[in-house]
Symmetry: C2
Subunit: 308 residues, 2 copies
């Protein structure tokens, strides 16, 4: 069985949207990636760090989904990473109100022995040097390394970010970040420049406008499912990445054609994530729900034109 190694945050999120607000709830990139990937019944492990304040029930939630948590360090006397944010009315932009790194400030990830030969590594959004240190611990070269990052690291650790970008196969990044990273407005040109930085595959996430997958001259586009309302976008990008990675591990096929399917699975899972606050919807998702929504994606995008 193929293995997926996930590195990323386990966190407390406090979220305010036009639909309501929450106290501290379960959040973090690794949480959303893990929950999405667990839909594929694969051998997935999270490498992360939490404080003594992180509830055992959150850990149980993840391990009950079959996710290996032996790489999660618990600092008893420390506090878990905490993020508080408020979404604007259009749900496409948000303000960060609180960021408390806490135990994350000194996070030095240790990859469990068992996962140092994982075929797929998903580097969730973290300091690029933290992401790099995970790659250095791999004893077998992974078949695919996927990296997610954000503008914060472009602003504050660009040189380190470029170092890790050079070593990966797939980057997932949003449209504004792709523009910032390359100085190019056209996403086609931006993707080409990012290819030049290392990754053979560039996934540009456009939120409610879907996602693009570039591989040289090949392009694939997956829309976001048009929804009546987006309740809480938190974690949608990570869920997308987790769905993508999980599908690749499950199918053991890294061809462009199969990556198209992985993108569709990622979009499908992300469309559930935004329906409720935090991880709520992802915690209770049946394979029947997923099949039904994949069918919606098919009728949303598939057409029959005979070409001559």
């Amino acid at each position: 069985m193929s293995k997926l190694l996930i590195v990323g945050t386990l966190a407390f999120d406090a979220i305010e949207t036009p639909f309501g607000k929450t106290d501290k709830i379960l959040g973090g990139a690794a949480t959303f990636i893990g929950l999405a990937a667990s839909q594929f019944n694969i051998d997935a492990a999270i490498v992360s760090i939490v404080g003594g304040d992180f509830p055992q029930e959150y850990l149980n939630l993840l391990s009950n989904k079959g996710i290996d948590l032996s790489g999660v360090e618990i600092i008893k006397e420390g506090k878990t990473f905490y993020w508080k944010g408020k979404y604007h009315n259009d749900m496409n932009s948000r303000d960060t109100i609180v960021t408390e790194l806490n135990v994350l400030a000194d996070f030095s990830p240790v990859v469990p022995k068992k996962y140092r030969d994982a075929e797929v590594v998903m580097l969730g959004n973290l300091h690029p040097l933290t992401q790099l240190s995970v790659l250095k611990q791999m004893e077998t070269k992974p078949k695919m390394v996927i990296l997610d990052t954000m503008n914060f690291w472009m602003d504050n650790a660009l040189e380190d970010l470029l170092k890790v970008i050079k070593k990966i196969d797939v980057i997932t990044i949003n449209d504004e970040e792709a523009r910032q990273l390359t100085g190019e407005y056209s996403l086609v040109v931006a993707a080409r420049k990012i290819h030049g930085m290392g990754p053979k595959y560039v996934v540009i996430k456009k939120g409610e406008h879907g996602a693009l997958l570039f591989n040289d001259d090949n392009v694939f586009y997956a829309p976001a499912l048009p929804l009546e309302e987006v309740f809480d976008p938190t974690g949608a990008g990570d869920t997308f990445a987790g769905g993508f990675a999980g599908y690749i591990v499950k199918t053991r096929d890294i061809s462009f054609e199969n990556m198209k399917n992985a993108i569709i699975y990622g979009s499908t899972l992300a469309s559930f994530c935004v329906e409720k606050f935090g991880t709520q919807r992802m915690e209770n998702l049946s394979s029947g729900d997923i099949q039904k929504r994949l069918q919606q994606f098919k009728s949303l995008t598939q057409f029959e034109i005979e070409l001559t």
Copy 2:
């Protein structure tokens, strides 16, 4: 053979984009709609009005494409509608610098006898009462009436606009206009409200983010082809509508499944339109070019997931 009746402007456009600027060149909604529809070798006619300053070569260009111009009134002593605009760097927004209605101010369209039984009527962006007067002249109820409009009429002639919207089958509108018309941010909810105003089919154009087709609970999504650069977006929306209408007339099939194809043809033609200034690219477009790009649309959007 089915007939397409097009009503809309024939105009002079002067355009400035980050890539350059033009003097007065051929423009207007009916021009772009007609050029796109002419790709389907159907019997299409334009109802419009121009001044004595409108070059014969522009008229020849359209009639050489097989478009019937017997419904184009020429006011010898008048001047043709003139629009001057400047696009911002992102190409998604523009400022109107000059709008001279000229002969358009007193335009009272007369539908040629031969086209009063056209199966498909395409009402290009004009005053809603002008659009309505065309519908009133039809002697046979068209199988499909398509309407394009814009925020200007929502601001200045909303009551008249709602009257014509009530009588049509398909509305094409951009995302911001759909939000303005309904007061709803979610495009799914906005489309449902617009259904309630009359049109069974709602097409929401999202520019570089593609287009959505709604019919009650059925939704179809066509992306815009990711382009290295958008040279001049002028006319893209009209080209999209003209491609949609032309394909429907050609295939004589108004099922939702066939409308999906029409949307793809519309998007395909629009992707050419933006490659050069004004009508330049649309004037010289081979069916080979179109087939090749349809193939690109297929590989851009089609995937193979086996559903259980």
